[in-house]
Symmetry: C2
Subunit: 348 residues, 2 copies
């Protein structure tokens, strides 16, 4: 029980539980995405830049995969300091600049949008706060509609960002996001059966962890790591499966559990080269993913089948969000209010 | 003493010691960079993409800052899996694709170059192996000339990549890289006086670390973290100073030392918002950087003044390379030959 009389973890649990309902609400607003996509089509971009911080940066990374794979366009994640601290004015003609932020508040992202506009980019703010400086600074705005997030660690705003970015990209390529229609039901089924408390016991005394995934599942690894850092203060490092083999693999031993995201499809198949190396290093392997992948791990969480691979990240992150709560609680922490950080972070 | 009769750490120490001499040799070959830059000027790029893995990916990240700040062009780091596992063919007209690799061998990077060429990009391979599949696949090639690296962990090939990428970008903007002429002397002075053994004693029992920097110094934080992971098996996490505040800060306490890169100039000034938050979290703070920044930390290493900020990364990484050796040795490991990994890593 915290000072406010709310049992520790209840705010975050409530945020998490809301997600399938919020996805449905977002899908019902797809006309807004069609409108924005039509404006993008009037200035077809040749290059897509994304800018974000923290959890939103993982949604931006997901969008980078969508842009590269579904639109076939080159894309990049902006280093905001180049436009803020270094005050450069890049040439941005034919660039679509997507800026993703829960609060819509951080001065460095507002400055990035302003710089992008001056340089000739078409700018879209994707925020959870319609009346925010970022939403006002960009030419176009999409509200992810996750409502007030009561826990400090972002959960429902993250998956709402993922779905909003998917709907935007799918509309830009002339579709309607219909592939997402089943995902809220799958999310509800997943949450109804998920019991992550035993897994929290398994990792109760772990100080270090490695998370890994490839392709669309790599942003999940990054975001899962951040949740575990924020709520349970674990040194949770995320690597793409390929990057893990280029050096960090040396660090692995039986004391560092590896949590891998291995869904059905291309992202999971691309991990086939990686998982045996993790096992050879002696690490304990937990898999969130397909039945087949989980069967080959020390422990795992099976995702409900039926989501197309590009929408699997909405489901993959759910068990990690729940694990973050249980792990924080069993370690004596309050996941709703991590030390040292606040809900809105302003960086320059 | 290892099986080969070479005292542990001597190979890596020899690689490290060679660096200033190799930088001089590279500077003497600047005509090659002028030639390649002239070919780039014949097809002026509007976007720059970079692809790399492991240590080379940190050199690519450095180049991304160079491109954004010195050329004012939008840039992005390619996710190779989009072209390999997902087999997309992006539109690459007006794109300059720089692929950086020590060995020039990894199949995913060769495939990335081939895909880039088919898509209309101008491709440049930056490798340490002139006769390599990557060098042959790209239209243009630059040899960083670091010679055979005998330790598994990359050191001299990294700073040679940094300098080669700097020379390329500086020539593309119509200059000759003259600002780099003093850097070999500065590197020699630094290595002559550097004694990192006491610092290894300080961190002997640390299992977790955080490295941080902003702007041009952020790639240094990433590469320093990788060296410590590879040779000393520490969970060394690197964050840009701004990203650290968006969540991971919660993880910090007195048990997690923070190693910050705070050079003179913009990158150092941009850390002013970050360092007090690290101190408030109770973390032990070590600084590599300017005299003023080191004076405010618990411990530090002062960089010799005189390098322009964009070349400071060549110097910043040197104390971390040395720390990686000493720390591995005091922990009973052989930094020349980390467990589980090989010199050449092929990823698909």
């Amino acid at each position: 029980m915290t000072a406010e009389g709310v049992p520790a973890g209840e705010l975050m649990a409530a945020d998490i539980a809301e997600q399938p309902r919020l996805w449905r609400a977002l899908l019902a607003r797809r006309a807004e995405f069609a409108t924005v996509a039509a404006k993008v089509a009037a200035h077809p971009p040749r290059f897509v830049l994304l800018a974000a911080r923290g959890t939103s940066d993982h949604a931006a990374l997901y969008a980078k995969y969508l842009v590269e794979i579904l639109l076939g366009l080159p894309a990049g994640l902006v280093s905001p300091s180049t436009m803020t601290a270094y005050a450069t004015q890049p040439h941005m003609r034919d660039v679509l600049l997507l800026v993703v932020s829960q609060s819509g508040h951080s001065p460095d992202l507002v400055r990035t949008v302003e710089t992008g506009r001056r340089g000739g980019a078409l700018t879209i703010a994707v925020t959870n706060t319609a009346d925010s400086p970022l939403a006002r600074a960009a030419q176009l705005h999409l509200d992810v509609g996750a409502g007030t997030e009561r826990a400090v660690a972002a959960t429902k705003s993250y998956t709402a960002q993922l779905l909003a970015l998917y709907l935007l990209v799918d509309h830009i390529r002339g579709r309607t996001g219909a592939a997402a229609d089943r995902v809220p039901d799958l999310g509800e089924a997943l949450l109804a059966k998920a019991d992550l408390a035993p897994l929290a016991t398994r990792y109760r005394f772990a100080q270090r962890m490695v998370l890994t995934g490839r392709g669309y599942a790599y942003p999940t690894a990054r975001e899962a790591g951040l949740k575990l850092m924020e709520t349970s203060y674990i040194s949770a490092q995320a690597f793409s499966g390929a990057d893990l083999l280029h050096g960090p693999l040396a660090m692995l031993d039986a004391q560092i559990p590896v949590l891998a995201i291995v869904p059905s499809g291309v992202a999971g198949a691309a991990m086939e080269q990686v998982l045996p190396r993790i096992r050879t290093a002696g690490a304990d392997l937990f898999v969130v993913g397909s039945q087949e992948a989980v069967a080959q791990a020390d422990a795992g969480f099976v995702l409900p089948p039926g989501a197309p691979e590009e929408l699997s990240p909405l489901l993959e992150i759910l068990p990690f969000q729940l694990l973050a709560i249980h792990l924080a609680l069993i370690r004596g922490e309050n996941p709703d209010a991590p030390r040292s950080i606040r809900k809105i972070t302003d960086t320059m």
